[in-house]
Amino acid sequence: MGARLALLATLVLARVAAASPPEHELARDYKRALDQGQTSLTFVRKSVERAVARGFRRVDVLGDPRGVERFAPGDRLVFVNRGRTVLLVVVGKHSPADGVRIVGTHVDTPHLRVLQKPFGRSGTALTLRASSRGGLKGYQWESLPLRLVGVVHKRGGRAVEIDLGEREGMTFAVSALKAAEPADATTRWPRPQAFPRGPRLFEVLAASVPSLAKGAKDPVKYSLLEVLKDRYGIEEADLASTELELVPAGRARDVGLDRALIGAFGQDDRLCSFAALRAAIDLSEIPPRTAIAYLTDREEVGSGGVTGARSAYLLLALQHLLRGSGVRHDRAALRHALAKTEVLSGDVAAGVNPIFPEVHELGNAPRLGAGPALKRYTGYAGKQQGSEANAEFTSRVVRILDAAGVPWQSATMGRVDEGGGGTIGKFLAETGAQVLDVGAPVVSMHSPMELSSKRDLHALYRAFSAFFRAP
């Protein structure tokens, strides 16, 4: 026992410097941001708080109808769209009419979304019914504790934020039938044509003990309603208008004995979002061009909707910026500015998975730890539904990275016929701006435990910083 204690003590003290101190420091801040920002709403709110604490001021595109607001070089501005999308702007020396620099990312992530008619049954237990939102593998969500987080718009209009699961010592879990037969060690899947997504509709256990309250029509359901009422003043009828997500409980972890990796939910694409956010708010001098970190919502479901990258909100914000800068802000002027605009679409890349290396074309696949991945094109099969950066812009970005001494690598999304993926890059390209996809490689993307490299996070932060600062 004595020896055991001594050894445990050395465990606590163990520190291995596989990543450098600045890399670990940024990773610590990033893990904190992941733990605090589990939904688009909370990640954006925390991002705005960070920015405001660092001298950014909020701009309301609807609050200045007569156009008296003026922006000058060096001004630090935050535009928030419905709490789910944010633009962090540092006004540059040149007029925005001469083009801006945008790093566009997304803050939403695949998760379980509680249905508008939320209640179901699993035997005698009460369940919350939820559907998958974004491309996730259902089985990955069937054996982990879940946290219920989001917002309820009560009758009468007041919005109440909910967060159950982390502090309360209670959790939620997808209900699971006992395996009738012992599992085959090589789990077979009955549908050979499809990858095993598992369920798309989830029954999530929420209560199982009937309440002792008198007069409760449905005592088990009342066990949950009691908590919602006591803690948040929410009644059952209020649950008709909610945005409730079920996300993995627990915190971001270091992975590997060398602590070089981060394992967490939601790194696609809060990793690039965090790097863009930090690059913008850490800008200490006035950049040559106006620098914008654009953190969008709804990428995992196609970027549609008012808070997605396809929303006209970006154009509205840019017009507002043009007007405040005292230059023409009509559509023609906007198109002109966009044509001179440079965009890095920051989204994660499919890093080589050592368990399944055969899905990658290893000569062109990105590796964890080798720096930001430059994805010249996205899409699937014959570059279908993808975006593609031209040689001129690609080489310009490469020169910026090389000049700043930032490591980078080129990347593809798996073997040609293996599948594929897209980003917000193509939607930003539709505005007429030049776009290149640049992001950190991630292994096990879209899983509750995505893996990224601390070294890549730091290099990506430096890459975005260099892009903002470049002449």
């Binding site: 020896a3 055991r4 001594a6 465990l11 606590v12 291995v16 596989a18 699993s122 005698t124 237990a125 593998k137 069937e142 054996s143 982990l144 504790p145 010592g169 959790t171 939620f172 879990a173 209900s175 039938l177 006992k178 009738a180 599992a183 789990t187 077979r188 899947w189 549908r191 997504r197 369920p199 798309r200 256990l205 929420a206 199982s208 003990v209 009937p210 002792l212 972890r253 992975v255 004995l257 060398d258 070089a260 990428e299 995992e300 479901v301 998975n353 050592p354 368990i355 290893l362 279908q384 999304m413 798996g414 293996e418 599948g419 897209g422 292994v443 096990s444 899983s447 509750p448 893996l451």
Partner: protein, 444 residues
């Protein structure tokens, strides 16, 4: 990044607390009214059930391996007045309590009863090993920029659930003749190991038939191919790669157990089959009046491997032999055989019980002793134990093995859902029922 290939989905909806599926039809699981199980409990018992679930949560959070389980249960037993079983000269007075750990992985607890030993014992057999992933002796290998650890499976695992889940590494290594425990990944600030799953974007072809095969279950241990990095990380923990060759090394889920639901009425966590039952048994038997017959709670290892090995089957006879020897000196084989024939055993075995339905009984593997079932049912009725009878083809292999000793046996099992996944689900109601069941069984 968003996948662009949408494969058709297998819409498999799973449900807990639901009537057991095809293998054990709902009609067969004759539960003592599971829907009203909670409602029938007096408020004091309801509170006790929820308190027990919290105690089990704290216990399984620490009892991650058989060795740690034995250590924690032994400590819990000593708190309840158990003394080490002496080689000879144990005082077999009714109410005395003795414990006998074996090779650090199995544990016998004896509750001395009023009747002489020759009238037979009541054996309660509860396995304390759980499915896990063990390291091979020469585990470190490099591939595609990573160092990984080569593993072997222990027990039946549904592999896909073990991917992309945080794993803690537990080791037991020898230092100067003494064993030393190592745990990496159990504290929140510790690093964990992960076997990375494939992203859905690139899964359609590769995982069409199998998500993963056994030889792919290898966690990433360092994000480098440089073994010196791993060596220095191990050295910082007082370890060397040599320790993999000699020690016992195993990977278990790192996610701590949690109570589920607004009412905290369910428990989600690793290793509950049957460690949760072991704790409930210890508590239930300890709370009983001095039993008529001597009770032996046998907590055994290696059940996942068919009870082979020195710490499972062998241990049963060994523990009883030690008990008899301690009581009466030399033991005649025939005396032992007679005692066994007069004994009965209750064995925890997977048997298709439904969550929330109470403790599960199954006797399908041996229909030779309806009298035993009758006696159990009467005791349960006297003690108001919620139970269910699973009549599906329960596997029963573990109890059947016990019948080879010429001991009448039946399954008594805490229902647990998803036993082949990293995190199993149990119900506070069933945990309470289990504790009461053991109290009742001591009264037989």
């Amino acid at each position: 990044m968003r996948p662009l290939i949408a494969a058709s989905a297998g819409g498999l909806l799973l449900a807990a607390c639901a009537p057991p599926a095809t293998q054990a039809p709902a009609a067969a699981a004759r539960a003592a009214s599971p829907a009203s199980g909670w409602s029938a409990l007096p408020p004091a018992q309801r509170t006790r059930a929820l308190t027990l679930a919290e105690a089990v949560r704290e216990f399984i959070a620490r009892a991650k391996t058989p060795r740690l389980t034995v250590r924690h249960l032994e400590a819990a037993a000593r708190e309840r007045g158990f003394l080490s079983l002496p080689r000879r000269g144990a005082r077999f007075q009714a109410g005395n309590r003795y414990l006998l750990p074996f090779r650090g992985k199995s544990l016998a607890l004896f509750f001395v009863g009023q009747a002489p030993l020759r009238e037979g014992l009541t054996l309660h057999i509860v396995p304390i090993d759980a499915p896990r992933i063990d390291l091979k002796a020469n585990p470190v290998f490099g591939r595609e920029g990573f160092l990984l650890l080569k593993t072997h499976l222990y027990g039946a695992l549904d592999l896909k659930y073990w991917l992309s889940a945080p794993l803690a590494l537990h080791g037991f290594v020898m230092r100067g003749g003494a064993g030393v425990d190592v745990a990496i990944g159990e504290n929140e600030d510790d690093p964990v190991l992960v076997i990375p799953d494939l992203l859905p974007h690139l899964s359609s072809r590769r995982q069409a038939r199998h998500v993963a095969r056994a030889e792919q279950m290898d966690p990433v241990v360092a994000a480098t191919m440089d073994r010196a990095v791993l060596s220095s990380a191990l050295a910082a923990r007082g370890l060397a790669t040599d320790d993999f060759e000699h020690g016992e090394w195993t990977l278990v889920p790192a996610r701590p157990p949690r109570l589920v639901g607004a009412d905290r009425g369910l428990l989600l966590g690793y290793g509950q089959s049957y460690r949760a039952q072991a704790l409930a048994a210890l508590r239930g038997l300890s709370s009983a009046r001095t039993p008529k017959r001597t009770q032996a709670l046998l907590l055994v290892d290696r059940s996942r491997l068919g009870m082979g090995g020195d710490t499972a089957d062998f241990f049963l006879e060994y523990a009883l032999g030690r008990l008899l020897a301690s009581a009466s000196g030399d033991v005649e084989d025939l005396a032992m055989a007679r005692i066994l024939m007069r004994s009965r055993a209750f064995v925890a075995t997977p048997n298709g019980g439904q969550l929330g339905g109470g403790i599960t009984l199954n006797q399908r593997f041996d229909d030779g002793d309806p009298a035993l079932l009758r006696a159990v049912l009467d005791a349960f009725a006297r003690h108001k134990v919620p139970y269910q009878i699973a009549e599906g083809p329960g596997r029963g292999s573990r109890a059947r093995r016990v019948t080879r000793l010429n001991v009448a046996a039946m399954d008594v099992t805490l229902p647990a859902a998803a036993s082949d996944r990293p995190l199993e689900l149990t119900s506070a109601f069933d945990l309470h029922a289990a504790a009461r069941a053991y109290r009742a069984l001591a009264d037989l």
